[in-house]
Symmetry: C2
Subunit: 124 residues, 2 copies
């Protein structure tokens, strides 16, 4: 079994979720050892919520689960890349397909994506 | 001008580099405020090296510079996505196009990429 380097960043490794078909980068979150093991076991992306300091089964509230199709790790074993099938079409809690819906342009941010759902209707 | 949330992770924000044409995720590194400003100014990906604790102009030694084509930030302003043109065809210091050259399979890692350069010949 591989051992990831959870020590380097205080027990948390950044995990990138990428759409397995389009290649779009959907989000970046963090995993501790338990979240990583749970992702392996369940096949659903499970992160560690830094704000809530608890395991975060992505999509538990919204239904927007990420089915993991492939797991890659980087050369230093301190970053994870998940290729996922995003249920509901939106990874972002603000209702966009990707959390990276803003592009830096002329010193400001331009939203380049359309909102897929209204967060107020999903999280209440 | 936008202000990123450098405080949340002790002054360092994870930055994903993605090939601007193929969409392949090349690497994940970190930026402090200075690295971010230098990336904006120069148009070349500049990170902060955690091991050397210094600004890291990607490709300074190897020549494998990353020309930044687009900068995206996530919904919480605490992650960066760079769309880059990778000079030399390899982002990884181990000689692979992507640092994510290993896939998790059957409890072990399988290398799925071909080595583009021999690190011993590039870094000496």
């Amino acid at each position: 079994m591989i051992t990831l380097d959870f020590k380097k960043t205080n027990g948390l490794i950044p995990a990138i979720a990428q759409d397995w078909k389009t290649g779009e980068v959907l989000m970046l979150a963090y995993m501790n050892e338990e979240a990583f093991q749970e992702t392996l076991r369940s096949g659903k992306a499970t992160y560690f919520s830094r704000s809530r300091q608890t395991l975060w089964k992505k999509g538990e509230t919204s239904g927007h689960v990420q089915d993991v199709k492939e797991i890659r790790v980087d050369c230093d074993l301190d970053a994870i890349l998940l290729k996922v099938e995003q249920q509901g079409g939106a990874a972002c809690h603000k209702g966009y397909a990707s959390c990276f819906f803003s592009k830096l342009e002329g010193g400001g941010l331009t939203i380049t994506h359309e909102q897929i759902f209204d967060p107020k209707k999903v999280y209440n």
